[in-house]
């Protein structure tokens, strides 16, 4: 049997989209990495820019929308140039307003137009069918806006090279799920490309493999059960809803952080260090601490550009609490045009504000709590409570994703409990019938344990793996490859955060 290159290409390209978990993406990435290092260093950013636009345009749906990312790039770059070079404040403010206005404008247009049209109505705001947002809209607009704001605030020098800046906006590993990059972090890396480092590449490849394992083995398999429960909330008992909500939190983490691992690993191989997006969030001991560890690039963006602009904590207490709520409401809106995201943001914001409000009082009370004298218990309880709060807020989030009524979930959480054994039987039976059977439950349990242990205290697995002796290293490599081969759920390539 002879297989031609045309057949191989046809096989790779049979999908219209380049999903990050597809063989096509891996082939594309391998080719880009190879060419990148074969080129002189000065040419690499330009090649990566071309590759990023190639990645963006591969999906036919995105091709007509390439102007959005190009316009966002050119406009914010020009605004940055004006802000940086012109001294007259009104002009600088105007340029900043134009840049931020354009960024928010396209976000609103692509994400909220139909919601506004359906809500407000009228001849101008008519509903638009097939209004699809370009790939990575939320990520590249936020990255572009951050640049002009940083230039305005003198935190970043003006970039005169449009192509360098364009690479920052459209760098393909960050296009799908972020992280939302900042230009001061990326600039030196773009201006002076790193030499090839085997250690960096090996670490990056491991991180990608780590991300694929988290996404395809853990997240995608957990989603079978979660989608089963959230797909039919009305007939689900309390134990199943609680279990599904908790497992959704784990699924969301594995999915989102897995994709970030792939992005960070890919960027690392290409010679770029991106912002870490997670730092062991489930080890947080307060709700606010949790949000300092979860989706760091987004929360820090809102902190730096919204929260601080509103006055942050240096204002009256009520205003401080309001600022917190506003930030989380904005975060909810960022996720999409759905009232459940808004409710999630509001609920989370209120909890965070309440946490800040009661922080001192709780600290005082804690001193008199005899159980807290046992350090391990204190840590355990605080982590448990924090994660329980997070899961409680996630009901809105999960309901938005699975299009169900969050209040129906909340209403049923306490119903149908049948003792510990009976409730466990309900959950385990449904888990088995969802397709998580055979050896899979053990694999998922063990896999989650390994992930949480390896990422304990925000450890970077890419660096950690390079410090291990080769037998352990290669055991892990083969273990993960085997886990993907035997247990990954293939054909479920979409990431949850890809839609935002």
């Amino acid at each position: 049997m002879t297989i031609t290159w045309e057949q191989v290409l046809a096989f790779l390209c049979e999908d219209q989209t380049m999903a990050i978990t597809s063989l096509l993406f891996l082939a594309f990435f391998a080719a880009v990495a190879l060419i990148n290092y074969a080129l002189p260093r000065v040419l690499r950013p330009y090649f990566l820019l071309a590759a990023s636009y190639g990645f963006f345009c591969y999906d036919p749906v995105n091709r007509p929308l390439v102007w959005v990312i190009a316009a966002a790039t050119v406009l914010t770059w020009l605004c940055g140039l004006i802000i940086g070079k012109v001294r007259a404040k009104p002009v600088r403010v105007l340029a900043l307003a134009a840049s931020v206005g354009f960024g928010i404008g396209i976000l609103v247009y692509y994400k909220y137009w139909n919601l506004l049209a359906d809500t407000v109505g009228g001849s101008i705001l008519s509903h638009r069918e097939n209004l699809l947002a370009p790939l990575g809209l939320s990520y590249f607009t936020f990255a572009a806006m951050s640049y002009t704001i940083d230039v305005y605030k003198r935190r970043c020098r003006v970039e005169t090279n449009l192509l360098h800046y364009a690479l920052f906006v459209s760098f393909f590993p960050t296009l799908i799920n972020g992280p939302i990059e900042r230009y001061p972090q990326m600039r030196p890396q773009i201006q002076k490309s790193r030499r090839f480092s085997y250690g960096r590449c090996a670490g990056g490849a491991f991180r990608m493999l780590w991300g694929y394992t988290k996404k395809m083995v853990l997240a995608d398999n957990l989603s079978h059960y979660v989608s089963l429960v959230y797909g039919d909330v009305g007939s689900m008992s309390g134990p199943n809803l609680v279990a599904a909500t908790v497992l959704f939190a784990v699924q969301l983490y594995m999915d989102f952080s897995g994709c970030c691992d792939i992005a960070l690993g890919a960027a690392r191989i290409l010679g770029y260090d991106l912002i870490e997006n997670f730092q062991s969030p489930f080890e947080a001991r307060t709700f606010n601490d949790f949000w300092r560890r979860w989706h760091i690039s987004m929360t820090s963006w809102f902190r730096d550009y919204v929260y601080f602009s509103l006055g942050g904590s240096r204002c009256a207490p009520w205003r401080h609490y309001l600022n917190i709520v506003i930030v989380f409401v904005c975060s909810g809106l960022w996720h999409g045009a759905d009232w459940r995201y808004l409710a999630w943001g509001l609920f989370t914001g209120l909890l965070a504000a309440f946490g800040v409000m009661t922080a001192r009082a709780r600290q005082r009370i804690n001193r008199y709590n005899p159980l807290y004298r046992m350090g391990w218990f204190k840590v355990f309880w605080q982590c448990l409570f924090t994660n329980a709060l997070f899961c409680l807020t996630l009901v809105f989030f999960a309901s938005a994703i699975y299009n169900t009524d969050p209040f129906a979930v909340y209403g049923s959480l306490l119903q149908g409990w049948d003792g510990l054994t009976g409730s466990w039987a309900q959950v385990s039976n449904l888990i088995y019938s969802s397709g998580i059977d055979g050896r899979l439950p053990v694999v998922l349990l063990f896999g989650c344990f390994v992930v949480f242990a390896a990422e304990h205290k925000g450890r970077s697995v890419a660096r950690w793996i390079r410090q291990q002796v080769w037998p352990l290293r290669w055991t892990l490599y083969y273990g993960m490859a085997a886990a993907i081969l035997f247990f990954a759920a293939f054909g479920q390539s979409a990431f949850i955060y890809q839609q935002y």
Binding site: I3, Q7, F11, Y198, L485, F486, F490
Partner: protein
């Protein structure tokens, strides 16, 4: 102006402790300008070194992929490479020496193809033909490694492709026992069986006999994709774990595959079974019918005789004759000795055919043409369509109108070793000495070729 006795103090010098100024500034070494060509070579070497190192590390993952592909290929739950699961089970059992139950439900063509693929050692002799060859077995052929590749309703395409499959797998047998059915020489679509593998036959014609057909090399990318598909691998793992060590095997959809080793005496089964040598052993009731019952079946077959691939068969097709000749030569070129066998029809049925020779013109031409061909080409031929040409043949040697049993075969076929010996020694009977009847005796007519003047036909001895 008078010269001052004291010199003018020198301006204070700032002392930089530990700073570069405290010590005499070292001359910065100018970087030696490197030849651009050397620079290029250095870059190239660096890239090559790291490229090879990285590629080598990635190659260490190749065993994982090889395992995936090998596992998928061997388990193959959808039968993409190893054939469908049920035929595979049958062939596996036969190769282990078991007789297999449930013959009527078998996809015989698939079994034959899989046998050709899976048999570890080339059989010394194989039999091809329709169900009329299926009574040839290891006992009556006298060859221990005989395998019967006949299939029910076989047409010329089945015959040829069965042998061709063996050749393509490098397992060309020494002897090919071909039970020739008359429709092999009929060129009409009616002579073809819908179950035959037309693509394989076209491949055979195109590739081997150089006969132009609409054959196209199949697109095997789909198969290749399945091998590279981890989801298919996972399905195979599930299937393997589910069926490993199980007495009953299930198919891809979980249905039980009802092909199992025969338990007890194979000659005392209530259903037909496939023997491990490929022959068929009919159920005990069918095998032990009375003469009247057999004749009744033969009578029933009279009216439907032509419907078995011979509707409108008035003359031999020149194309089929050429194909037949080419095939025999092809087999001989592969080192295979071709032995032809003409399995007789039930006397009642043959007698009936003689009453309406106009309706069976093609049929009555076949045997004489074949005998002439064998005489011209020194090809051994045994048996005759005309039961009267076989000495001692009884009606009870048949199962029905079409199928002659083992006892009947023993009356005209001496076994493969004897046939080969006769061929080698030049002691083969002259094929033209046998004269099958082609019409009812007409006292006024001249005796037909092969008939004695007193109306008796020359009989062949076993």
């Amino acid at each position: 102006m008078a010269k001052s006795p004291t010199p003018i103090p020198a301006p204070p010098v700032k002392i930089h402790r530990g700073a570069p100024g405290s010590a005499p500034a070292r001359q910065r070494r100018r970087r030696k300008k490197v030849n651009p060509f050397v620079l290029f070579l250095r870059g190239l070497a660096r890239r090559l070194y790291f490229g090879i190192k990285t590629a080598f590390k990635f190659l260490l993952f190749v065993p994982v992929l090889v395992f995936m592909v090998a596992f998928s290929y061997n388990v193959d739950r959808s039968g993409l490479f190893q054939g469908a699961l049920a035929p595979r089970r049958i062939v596996d059992l036969m190769l282990q020496g078991y007789d297999v139950t449930n013959f009527e439900q078998m996809d015989e063509r698939e079994v034959v193809q899989l046998f050709a693929q899976d048999v570890p050692e080339t059989p010394e002799a194989i039999g091809i033909g329709s169900s009329r060859v299926l009574q040839f077995n290891r006992e009556n052929t006298g060859v221990e490694s005989f395998f019967n590749m006949g299939v029910t309703g076989a047409d010329v395409r089945d015959n040829m492709t069965s042998y061709y499959k063996m050749v393509t797998y490098g397992k060309a047998p020494k002897v090919l026992l071909w039970s020739i059915d008359p429709w092999v020489f009929y060129g009409s679509e009616a002579a073809f069986d819908a179950r035959a593998d037309a693509d394989l036959y076209n491949e055979f014609l195109t590739k081997v006999l150089n006969v132009p057909t609409d054959y196209e090399e199949p697109d095997k990318v789909e198969l290749w994709k399945a091998l590279a598909d981890p989801a298919y691998f996972q399905g195979n793992v599930d299937y393997y774990i589910k069926n490993r060590g199980q007495a009953t095997v299930t198919d891809d959809e979980g249905n039980t595959i009802e092909f199992n080793p025969v338990e007890g005496d194979p000659y005392n089964q209530t259903t037909s079974i496939k023997r491990s040598d490929g022959s068929v052993l009919y159920d005990v009731a069918f095998r032990n019918q009375t003469e009247d019952q057999i004749r009744t079946l033969a009578a029933e077959a009279c009216m439907s005789f032509n419907s078995v691939h011979m509707e409108g068969f008035d003359e031999l097709s020149q194309t089929q004759i050429q194909a037949f000749d080419s095939f025999v030569r092809y087999a001989q070129s592969q080192g295979t000795t071709v032995i032809l066998v003409l399995s007789p029809w039930h006397p009642y049925l043959y007698g009936y055919l003689l009453t309406e020779p106009e309706n069976h013109k093609g049929f009555f031409q076949v045997e004489n043409w074949l005998r002439q061909y064998c005489a011209d080409n020194n090809v051994p031929i045994y048996g005759s369509y005309d039961p009267a040409c076989i000495e001692g043949l009884q009606e009870t040697d048949f199962f029905d109108g079409l199928h002659c049993g083992g006892t009947g075969i023993a009356r005209f076929f001496p076994g493969i070793p004897q046939a080969l010996s006769d061929l080698q020694n030049g002691t083969l009977a002259n094929p033209l000495d046998v004269h099958p009847r082609t019409s009812l005796e007409d006292p006024n007519a001249q005796p037909a070729e092969g008939e004695t003047p007193d109306g008796e036909v020359t009989q062949q001895e076993g």
